[in-house]
Amino acid sequence: MSIILDHVNYVYGGDTTLAVQALKDVNLVIPDGQFIGLIGHTGSGKSTLVQHLNGLIKPTGGSIYFNGEDIHEQDYDKKKLRSKVGLVFQYPEHQLFEIDVFTDVCFGPKNLGLSKQETELRAYAALKQVGLEDDYFYQSPFDLSGGQKRRVAIAGVLAMKPDVLVLDEPTAGLDPKGRDEILDQIAKLKEETGITVILVSHSMEDVAKYVERIIVMNQGSVMFDDTPGEVFKHYRELEEVGLAAPQVTYIMQALYKNGMPVKTDVTTIEEAKQEILRTFGK
C-alpha cells in the first residue's frame, strides 16, 4: 500500500517555444502512514506534483503507481483513486457551494455513489474530525469565519475516507492561532486514524514540528528528501533557492560557531531549549 512515482516528468505548453518543464525526473516512494512535509517556493513544482498523486494531471513522462497499479492504465478507476487520495486545494473554502455546511460535506461521499445513510454518517464523522461543533452544521458555509470555512472544506475531503490526505498550503491566510489550530487538528487526525498525510507548505517552521520526513522541491526536481534534522543541515543551500530553515537552526548554528557545544540538528523550540539547558548543565 503506497504511492510510487517513477521518473515522473511534466511539461506544459506543449511543443511550443513557451513549454515549461514543471517536473523533472521525480522519483518518490510514499509508504503508508507517513507524515510528510512537501516544501518549495512558488513555482517549484510542488502544487503540480500533488495534482499528479490523484490523477488530476497526467505526467508527460514516467509512471505513477497507487498500491501497485499504474493509475494511467486504460481501465483504472480514477474516481476511486480520487476518493483514496484526498486532495485539499489551497484556499479550499473558495470551493464551498451548498446551502449548508452538512450538505456541502456530503458532496464527496454522494459522488461516490454511497447510500444516503452512509453519506451522512461519513459527513458527520468528518465534521467531528476537523473539530467543528454541531451548532454550525446547518448554517450557510458562507456565514462562518475563515478558519471554520477551511475546516468544513477539509471535512469535505475527509468524508470520502481517503487513505492519503494531501493538503496544499492549509494555513495560508490564517492568523497564527488559526494556523496552529488547523495543524494540531491534522496531527491529531493523523494520530487517531493512521492515514498518510502530505502537508504542502513554503514554511519550514510550520511543518518542522509535525512531520517525520521533508521533501524539498526546487525548479521541478526533488532537492532533498530526508528527516527534518538532516534537511535543515543544508540551510545554506536552502537559502540559495529562496527557502529558509527554521530560525532555531540559525540560533543553534550561531551558538555552535561561537564555541558552545550544542547539537545543530534540532528542529523545534523544545529541542533547542533542552539542548541549550544541557550545555548549561541544567
Binding site: G13, L56, K79, G86, L96, F107, L112, G156
Partner: protein, 266 residues
Amino acid sequence: MLRDITLGQYYQTDSVIHKLDPRVKLVATICFIISLFVVKSWVGYVAAAIFLAVMIKLSNVPFKYMVKGMRAIVFILLITVVFNLFLTPGEVLVSVWKLKITREGLQLAVMMAVRLSFLIVGSSVMTLTTTPNSLTDGMEKLMKPLKIFKVPVHEVAMMMSIALRFIPILLEETDKIMKAQIARGADFESGNLVKKAKAMVPLLVPLFISAFRRANDLAMAMEARCYRGGENRTKMKPLKYASRDRIAYGVLAVYFAVCIVIRIYL
C-alpha cells in the same frame, strides 16, 4: 496554462500598422467593411484584395495568423454559400434532384464567400496589430461625441478594460475550482444535458462568489486611488495623431473614392 491566453489575439511585432493610432485602424476597418458592400463588380473586389494584401504585408504579421480567424467562421461561410447557391432563382446551370444551381446563384455565392472572408481577414488585421487596451482607448475617444446623448462612453470603456484584465484570472480560477471539485468526485463530463447542467452548480456557485468578491475588492481599491469617473481625468497615454496617421487617413480616403468610382462607372 490558461493564464497565458492573451485575448484579442494581439501579435507582437514592429510595423507601420502597429504604430498607427487605434482610431485610424478602427475607422479604416469600418470603411473597409463598408467598401465590401459598396463595390458590386469583380474589379471592385480586385481593388479590395489589393488594399487588403498591402495592409497585411505592411503589418508584418504572418499570413497564417490571419487565416486562423477564418476557422471559427467556416461553418457560417458554408451555410451562406449553400443557401445562395441553391435558393437564388435564375438561369439553371445544373439540376440535381429538386435542387437547382443557377448562374446567378453561383455568382452570388462566390461573392458572399469573398465578402465574408475579406471581412474577417480585414478585422483581424486590426485585432492582430492593436492591443485590447489601445483598442478600448480608441473606441472611447471615437465615441466621445455620443456623450451628448448621455451614452456613458467612459464607463463602457473602463468596463471593457477591466473585463479584459480579469478574464485570464477568472479562467484560471475556473480551472482550479473544477479540479478541486473533481478531486471530490464531481463529474463534469458524462450524462445527458440536464445532468451536465446540474453538474455545473458546484463550479458556477463558487465562481460567481469569487467574481463578486473580486469586484467588491476592486471597486474599493479604485476608490482608494481617487477614481471618480471620467470627469477631470487626465491620460497617461493620450491619443495623438501623428503625421503617419494623417497619411493613413489620406490613403484610406483614396481607396474609398476608388471603390465609389468603380461602383458608378464599372
